[in-house]
Each structure stands twice: as structure tokens, then as C-alpha cells.
Symmetry: none
Subunit: 156 residues, 2 copies
Amino acid sequence: MKNKRSRLQVITEILRSSVVGSQEELLAILADRNLNVTQATLSRDLKVLKVSKTPLANGTYKYVLPPVTKTVSPTGNLSTFTSHGAVISIEFSGHLAVMKTKPGYASAIAWDIDNKGASEILGTIAGDDTILIIPREGVSRESILQLMDLTFSNKD
Amino acid sequence: MKNKRSRLQVITEILRSSVVGSQEELLAILADRNLNVTQATLSRDLKVLKVSKTPLANGTYKYVLPPVTKTVSPTGNLSTFTSHGAVISIEFSGHLAVMKTKPGYASAIAWDIDNKGASEILGTIAGDDTILIIPREGVSRESILQLMDLTFSNKD
DNA sequence: GATAAATATGCATATTTATAGAAATAATAG
DNA sequence: CTATTATTTCTATAAATATGCATATTTATC
């Protein structure tokens, strides 16, 4: 159907922001948003999204999205920092991105990021091997990754 | 029974070393090792172990163990600092935590936090007396506090 | 356009997983 | 030891999830 892509998007948003313990539950939430599908479809959606069901400390369950860690493999057009292999990973939490680098590299790489002059990025803060990247509002994770010349290599 | 502990141990070993796609399957493997339990018990075991079922790229499923939280390094772990009063406070804003320390301590403590290898924490960035702690998505404030060997003095 | 191929969905149902008791086993107190 | 209490496990079953197949919808090809 036309709306599969957007449904998957909505599902990830829901799972990112709330604790959902069963497909029935998620089904209801989707229905609230006028997304009416059956449990069968949902099961398949979750499979596509690689969402896993995991037990929580409080005795309940939660459907969790796969980590958005992209282990780094540079695209054709290499920036200096990715080609040096100094960037280890980038992962998101909320609208923030955290980039891990080799020890000592963070400041240098952060400088590079800042000096791309990309409007998508509001600013960076670097420690020794960690950079906090603060995107502007409304900037997607994908576009940040693209900006960093990173491609996905999600693993199991 | 007396062998619950060891059974859980065996289960983790199995799950660590092979791809198991259903409880029935795991059940059979356990039976091979003369560990005869019912699926009901297994379901509870997996719940205790916080094992999650996640879709694989090849269209099948796999039971995966939770990320290992590394045990503490011999010297200077976090509780040393917290118990000696170098950590002044920790407070949350959104999903971020900000820890205040005695002047000059921040980097050292941040290093300790990083080196706990806790999967709950995406990264830290330290100044002189302030540490920004970025938890992974979906990680509760409580679990961050626990991780820091801190207890609550108030609400949420 | 028409038609073929590919993709997505629902229905019905099989399969899988979780849980409420009851029963068994172990631990503890007197 | 015996009674009491707590754990662990099982049986039976409920609840949740996955999937085969038929149908609808979209996309590609002519």
C-alpha cells in the first residue's frame, strides 16, 4: 500500500518514545492515529524493522528498535577524518548524535565537522574520544549520516 | 531445584555460541545436555536472563543475550568518587543527565563512567566540574542512577 | 491505455510464548 | 523431626505472534 513507508516511520517513532509491550497494544496506538492494520501486518512490520521484544526489569516486556549505531564505512567521497579511520561509530539518542572516535581525535574531528559549515548542525562539543553533535531541529538522522559521509552497516 | 543456576549458565553459553530461533529449539539443545525442562520453565528462564527475540536479516529470528555490563576495573571506580564526595550531584534534563563534580574531577570521573562499559550510556563529555551524560534511547533515569551507584534523594 | 510482475494486506490458523494454578522440592524455624 | 514458608517446576491453557494462502494494490512493461 501507499502508506507502508510512513507507517513504519510512525511505528519507529512510537517505539522510540514509549514503552510498548505487545503488538495488540501497538495496534491500538496506531489505530488512534488512523493507521488501521491487522496484527499480521504489524508482525511483519516489526520483522522488517528488526524490532525485538525484550523482557524489562519490572517483569513486563518492551518492543525495542535496533540500535542505530552505524559502524563506519566511508562512502566514495572520503572526508579526511573518516578516511583516517579515526571515527569508530555514530549513534543517536533522541535528536542528538554521539560520535565515538579514537582517543584524542575528538576535538580535531569536531573541528572538521564544524568547518563543513553544514546548516544541519547547530554545534558540536568534543571530549577526548567522544563528540556530541547537536543537529538543528527537524534534521533527520539520515541526513546527519550523509553529511558525515557515513553509510549504514547495521549488523545483527 | 538445585540446578537452576547452572541451567541458566548453560543457556547463556548456548545463546552466546549459536543461533537459536525458538524456545522449542533451545529446549531440544538443553535436552541433549540432559537438562530436561518444559517450555514454560524456559520462557521464565529467558525472562530472568532478559533474553530478547530479534528478527535477523535472513528472515529468521534469534534469541540474543542482553549486552554484558562489564565489571569494574580494580582501581578508581565510580563508587570511590561518589563515596569520597567528588560527585556533587546529578540531575536530568530530558533524556540527558548532567553530573556536577568537585572542580577538576570531571574528566577523571567521566573516564570511569566510560570504562564501566555500560551499554546504557552512549557517551560522556566532560568539562572541568561538569559531565554531560548521554544515555541510550529508552534508558530510564533510574537505571542511570543505579549505574552511577547513586540513590535518590528526591522525586522525578 | 492494457497486462504482467511485484509488493502489500487481510483472514484464518498454526505456531510460539507466557502465565495461572497445583504439585514438588528445598530451606527455615521451632 | 515436623511444621511452615519459600522456590522451583510442571500441567494445562491462555495469550501473543508468525505465516500460508488468497486477494487487493502498486509498479513496471509493452
